[in-house]
């Protein structure tokens, strides 16, 4: 009987142990990456609003088709000067732009990542799904009532635009709620807030609004509102081809 009690106690202790100990930084970052990429494919109908310091705002509408891990096709639907334009990202090195005015698909060098996305505070990198554990080492530095707080440092040998990042990940969804991008000294350069999370598949949560503030540009702000999302509808590889990019004008 003593043996049975001891065995039961051991079982309870071993089952309870993970719940009591906080996960490590790398474990949490892996969960964040998994949460961000918890779909095979998705269609995201979005509006990008760029707010100028003088109060003016410009708005772009586009549809993003995405297939994990890294295929992406963006088609602009408004305003008129960009309508019909398309961007195809086949992988990190292979990108194409279709300009309807020239009826031509242009292979782009990856230098295009240095451009902002349509003059917004989003870079082309921001527009791709995050997979942070490839480029950052993580350390768990805290926890509040809503989120885990992670400090990320770029992996040795890399030269990233933001060598340090602070990330608040939801306690349950593991989706980022806030991301602060910093320089090596820890100065806050850019900040992203993701909210309005909505579950659009049994395992995927989608933020319906992403607000980004660039402190280097006098706190210039850009916001993406997701009008609708459609997850795992079975997008074919054909869609992510140069041929498809031309067709979709």
């Amino acid at each position: 009987m003593k043996i049975l009690r001891a065995a039961l106690a051991a079982c309870v202790v071993s089952a309870a142990a993970p719940a009591l100990a906080d996960p490590t930084g790398p474990e949490l970052l892996k969960k964040v990456d998994e949460a961000l990429n918890a779909f095979k494919d998705g269609v995201f109908d979005s509006k990008l609003r760029i707010r100028e310091p003088n109060g003016q705002a410009r708005e772009y509408a586009f549809v993003t088709y995405q297939k994990t891990p890294n295929k992406r096709l963006v088609r602009f639907t408004s305003p008129g000067d960009v309508k019909g334009m398309g961007v195809l990202v086949e992988n990190a090195e292979t990108m194409y732009v279709f300009l309807p005015g020239f009826q031509k698909v242009r292979r782009m060098g990856t230098h295009i990542k240095n451009q902002t996305f349509m003059g917004s505070d989003f870079s082309f990198e921001d527009m791709s799904q995050l997979a942070l554990s490839d480029t950052y080492d993580a350390k768990l530095t805290g926890k509040d009532d809503k989120s885990w707080i992670l400090e990320l440092t770029q992996k040795p040998g890399l030269d990233l635009e933001f060598p340090r990042v602070k990330l608040w990940a939801d306690l349950n969804m593991f989706q980022p709620l806030r991301i602060v991008y910093m320089d090596a000294s820890g100065k806050n350069l850019k900040e992203q807030v993701r909210d309005g999370y909505k579950q659009d598949s049994p395992i995927h949560w989608q933020p319906m609004r992403v607000l980004i503030t660039d402190h280097r540009r006098n706190d210039h702000q850009s916001e993406i509102d997701f009008v609708s999302t459609k997850i795992d509808s079975g997008l074919g590889d054909d869609l992510f081809s140069v041929r498809s990019l031309v067709r979709g004008q």
Binding site: E52, E59, F102, G109, T110, H111, N114, T116, M118
Partner: protein, 525 residues
């Protein structure tokens, strides 16, 4: 009665089909377009004489030394109709108002189309049928098929002739009626075949006739001795007028154009091979008839050609993702000789061929009787190459640089040399000669400010001397531009297109055009 019943039956059947048709797929309609305005002022150009017609159209649009050279307003309408995933129809039409009147007689002033002339340009009117056969797409109708990886200077893109009427664009492909098949048998491999039934010539700039109608210009032949002899003949019998006529290819099966291209990816780089059979879009002088009273009729034709092309594009990650592209076209031209006929004074037959006989010392004598001796060569049959090599890069601050080395400008064709009349040259004067296929540096720097609302562009093309040029000269065109996106889809632009060079250089030649400043406004919807 039976016939009426039959007709009713057919109508009923058609109605049933028409009503039933939408059930196969909903029509998705997309509509868009543009409203824009473009006003330009010419600075120090050479006046263009009216040419064959008493006055150009519209008659008020004269190219003065200083004056408004463009005053266009445009409404573009684009319509796209898609049925399911199989069929799409696309139309893209510009309505353009010249902004000049064509009132050269009082009757004309009573007609709307003469008081306010306009034109219509169809850039697209085609139907796509996807997967008409397994992995095969079909496109029929008016379209542009743009090949090549370079920016604007594409020696492999020859299916559409160029619209050269706006120098700022460095040639915009003119849509033409074609049948295009795309076969995608495996991954990135695409085989494209295009058939163009009717050849459409290039749209030349308003200054182009100067190249032919100015009697002081050198004869367009390669042989120095024949050019010299023709200069002497012109000096002895100076032309009183030069009129230029065309010999457009007949709409026959022999004059159709075809193109085939195989494109794919090799070692992560985009590569393609292509072949084109057809004609060069810009005409070449081919005949001259010297008529009575010194009136010369010059005839131009569009030379046949076969072009083998290859291109490559990719990204060099070790250089920060620098984009690169290279494109080459090897041209096999039809030989064009210069047929000269004398219908004027002292003829033997009334239509005497004027030909040449080479002497032991290398000079030429003239013959004016049958049978024909040697003609001058305008385009030799020697194959020649045109190529473009370029890189582009976006800096961390968002500035974009594109740099191209171009061997062979958009309008250059044929091996051999090109002659330019020197400033103030008289009939028969020796020209300055340079290699016909020239060397160019083409940089473009784009800087965006205020969240991309203001674009400042510095672009241009610099012609550098070829190592084979005897009298080496450089020239350039410069295109500064400031564009302000004042609101969503609305932009205002101020720019200039400046020609720099001596009279006897490519960009200093008045036939190339004259410097302009321009203001544009554009709204897209």
């Amino acid at each position: 009665m039976r016939r009426a019943r039959g007709a009713c039956g057919i109508v009923a059947a058609l109605l049933a089909i028409a009503i039933a048709a939408p059930a196969r797929g909903d029509v998705e309609i997309k509509f868009g377009g543009q409203i824009s305005s473009d006003i330009r002022y010419r600075l120090g150009g050479e006046e263009v004489p009216p040419g064959l017609s008493a006055v150009p159209f519209p008659s008020q649009q004269r190219l003065l030394k200083y004056g408004f050279s463009r005053n266009e307003n445009l409404i573009k309408a684009q319509l796209s109709l898609t049925i399911g995933e199989r069929v799409k129809a696309v139309a893209d039409v510009d309505f353009v108002w010249y902004g000049y009147s064509d009132v050269n007689e009082l009757q004309a002033e009573t007609l709307h189309e003469r008081v306010d002339p306009y034109r219509l340009e169809a850039h697209a009117a085609y139907i796509d049928v996807y997967k008409i056969l397994p992995h095969v797409d079909l496109r029929i109708g008016r379209q542009v098929v743009a090949w090549g990886t370079a920016d604007r200077f594409n020696p492999t893109s020859n299916l559409n002739s160029l619209d050269l009427s706006d120098p700022v664009l460095f040639g915009k492909p003119l849509a033409n009626d074609m049948i295009r098949l795309d076969w995608n048998p495996w991954r990135d491999l695409i085989v494209t075949a295009v058939w163009v039934p009717i050849f459409r010539p290039a749209q030349l700039p308003r200054t182009a006739p100067l190249a032919l109608t100015d009697p002081a210009r050198p004869a367009p032949v390669q042989e120095d001795g024949i050019r010299l002899r023709l200069g002497q003949l012109a000096l002895a019998n100076p032309p009183t007028a030069v009129n230029a006529y065309t010999m457009l290819p007949e709409p026959s099966i022999e004059n159709t154009q075809v193109g085939v291209r195989i494109a794919g990816r090799l070692l992560k780089q985009d590569v393609s091979l292509s072949y084109y059979h057809g004609r060069f879009g810009i005409p070449s002088p081919s005949f001259t008839v010297n008529g009575p009273k010194g009136v010369v009729s010059a005839l131009v034709m569009w030379p046949r050609m076969d072009v083998l092309g290859a291109d490559i594009a990719g990204s060099i990650d070790k250089l920060g993702g620098l984009g690169y592209f290279a494109e080459v076209g090897v041209f096999f031209p039809q030989e064009i000789t210069y047929g000269i006929y004398n219908d004027g004074t002292g003829t033997i037959t009334g239509h005497d061929p004027v030909t040449f006989v080479k002497q032991m010392d290398g000079s030429y004598t003239t013959k004016q009787d049958y049978p024909e001796a040697q003609r001058g060569t305008v385009i030799p049959s020697t194959p020649f190459a045109k190529y473009t090599i370029g890189v582009d890069y976006t800096f961390k601050n968002g500035f974009y640089l594109n740099f191209q080395y171009v061997h062979g400008f958009i309008d250059e064709f044929g091996a051999g040399r090109q002659g330019y009349a020197k400033a103030g040259a008289a009939v028969g004067d020796a020209p300055r000669l340079e290699e016909r296929i020239g060397e160019y540096l083409v940089p473009t720097l784009q800087m965006k400010f205020f969240s991309d609302q203001v674009l400042v562009q510095l672009a241009g093309a610099i012609k550098i001397p070829s190592i084979l040029d005897v009298e080496k000269k450089s020239c350039a065109v410069v295109n500064p531009l400031v564009e302000w996106a004042v609101w969503d889809a609305t932009s205002l632009a101020l720019g200039a297109f400046i020609f720099i060079g001596d009279h006897d250089t490519k960009f200093g030649d008045p036939a190339a055009g004259a410097s302009e400043i321009y203001a544009k406004a554009k709204f897209t919807y």
